[in-house]
């Protein structure tokens, strides 16, 4: 029972299906606009910067630094740490930090993506490196 997925499966939709298909292959994708060259996250078909519809998928290294975080001390599923990671490619994203000492997190700390299973596509989380 300990292997039971703890996280809800993404519902998915036509706009983001490619992201979840890639996640099943262990790849972490972001979107980049070919008109203004700006990357963004979470993925959108129309660029939130310049409104061009010329956005393409790009594989991210899935590495970055902690922008901010907060450790929720109690919840029905136990303590968990939410935060934002600023990816090396530029965009920041909301996530949870996992597989680490949650009381030792620091702003600026380097982290990398780890996928966790659900009943559907796996979900991206982040864990400290080094």
């Amino acid at each position: 029972m300990t292997d039971k997925p703890k996280y809800p499966a993404p519902v998915g939709n036509p706009e983001t299906a490619h992201f979840w298909d890639a996640a099943k292959q262990g790849k972490f994708l972001i979107k980049r606009c070919t008109a203004c060259r700006e990357p963004h996250y979470f993925p959108r078909s129309i660029c939130p910067v310049c409104f061009s519809d010329q956005t393409v998928w790009e594989e991210s290294k899935g590495e970055g630094v902690i922008y901010s975080y907060s450790l929720m001390r109690k919840s029905p599923t136990g303590p968990y740490a939410i935060g934002y990671v600023t990816l090396d490619e530029g965009p920041s994203l909301l996530t949870n930090f996992v597989d680490c000492d949650l009381t030792a997190l620091k702003i600026g700390q380097r982290v990398k993506v780890v996928f966790k299973p659900t009943d559907g596509a796996p979900l991206p989380f982040f864990t400290p490196v080094g």
Binding site: H40, F42, S68, S70, S75, P91, N96, I107
Partner: protein
């Protein structure tokens, strides 16, 4: 079109209950509506505009029907806890445009006796919902980054609660009436780092209502005259993860147009109602509205500046959300109500600001740290 001096707040009502297991949510809305109309000296038949938000059971259609309203203007903008400050601005615009002459705004709910309504998710759902953003940790992330960038301390944040508790001791309806110290706050249990239990607002049942009307109707009533002179509203979110900055709120965009329309500056404000979902919320908003420089909010509150009779900016003199009430976890309407009491000279004598003729009301709704709205209103005693 400006709303300046074109709309008056003629009626206010804050429901006295903080725990309502014996009432329905619609009933609380109706009791608030009745209370505000009676305060104004108007009747239900005078109401031709109605404004409610997501807490109204079923939305504007069933609630207006339940209240028995005959309307020619309706609006149900949903921006969480600042919905009612936005509604106040929209009501003023509708009145200025001749779309209605007596606007009723209601809020009510029972998060203390029943479950909170589930949070609505948007297109971000698959990319955010699993991570468990709540009010506590979303504001915790803002506090953590504010501390990192500006050296803000837990002791400084605690002063916001201390000020609220100084005011709440005089409010017989307040949920928390004990005066607390900085030590009490930082020694209370950590909820979501770096926010302690006493950095958080209360959860209460209850509600409130406002009646907004034309200058002509307001002047025909036997109540002190309070008018709107400026209003602003805005939104902020992660913006595709671009240039994420949790140290400021949408208040940086809602404040300036409100001050400009009113033709006043932060220095002119005699009393401020500023939404206090958490202590950090107040510090960020004080900076965003220009009451102090960005990053200096911690120092500003630690000097006791928010305490009526002591500091430069008497604030939330009913005890606010931190000590008095926070009906349906939406504190916007109670901020407007206490500002009107101050301008009328009807606040508790121990916290009434002398010659209070200019007040600011400001709030955020949604989750600071994820996506939220902000609204600012400037009110003046005539």
């Amino acid at each position: 079109m400006t709303i300046k001096n074109k709309a008056y707040i003629a009626g206010i009502y804050e429901h006295p209950t903080r725990h309502a297991p014996d009432k329905s949510t619609a009933q609380l809305h109706a009791e608030c509506a009745k209370g505000a109309l009676e305060d104004a000296g108007l009747t239900k038949a005078d109401v031709d505009g109605y404004f409610c938000a997501g807490d109204a059971p079923g939305g504007v259609m069933p609630m207006a029907d339940y209240l028995g309203l005959k309307l020619r203007h309706l609006d149900s903008t949903e921006t969480g806890g600042c919905s009612y400050i936005i509604a106040l601005g929209h009501a003023a615009e509708a009145i200025a445009a001749g779309k209605c002459s007596v606007a009723l705004i209601t809020l009510a709910g029972k998060p203390r006796t029943g479950p909170m309504p589930p949070r609505a998710f948007g297109p971000e759902v698959d990319f955010e919902a699993a991570y468990g953003a709540t009010t506590h940790n979303a504001y915790g992330m803002c506090a953590m980054r504010h501390m990192h960038e500006f050296g803000t301390t837990s002791e400084q944040l605690a002063w916001v609660k201390v000020a609220a508790s100084h005011h709440a001791q005089y409010n017989p309806h307040a949920m928390l009436r004990d005066v607390v110290t900085v030590e009490d706050v930082i020694n209370s249990p950590m909820i979501s780092d770096p926010l302690h239990r006493l950095d958080c607002c209360v959860v209460s049942d209850g509600g409130g209502a406002l009646v907004v009307t034309t200058p002509e109707i307001a002047k025909s009533l036997k109540r002190p005259l309070v008018r709107m002179t400026g209003h602003g509203e805005s939104l902020k979110g992660p913006n595709g993860g671009r240039k994420l900055d949790l140290t400021y709120s949408a208040g940086v965009w809602s404040g300036p147009p409100a001050f400009a329309e009113a033709g006043v500056t932060p220095k002119d404000i005699k009393y401020a109602s500023i939404y206090d979902s958490f202590t950090i919320t107040v510090v960020v908003q004080l900076e965003d509205l220009g009451f102090c420089a960005k990053g200096d909010g911690g120092k500003f509150v630690a000097d006791g500046n928010l305490i009526s009779g002591v500091g430069k900016l008497p604030w939330n003199t009913d005890g606010g959300g931190l000590c008095n009430n926070h009906p349906i976890n939406r504190g916007g309407i109670t901020k407007i109500i206490e500002a009107v009491r101050q301008l009328r000279g009807e606040a508790h004598p121990k916290v009434q600001v002398p010659n209070c003729d200019l007040a600011l009301v400001h709030g955020t709704g949604g989750l600071l740290g994820v996506r939220h709205a902000a609204s600012t209103a400037i009110l003046e005693r005539v």
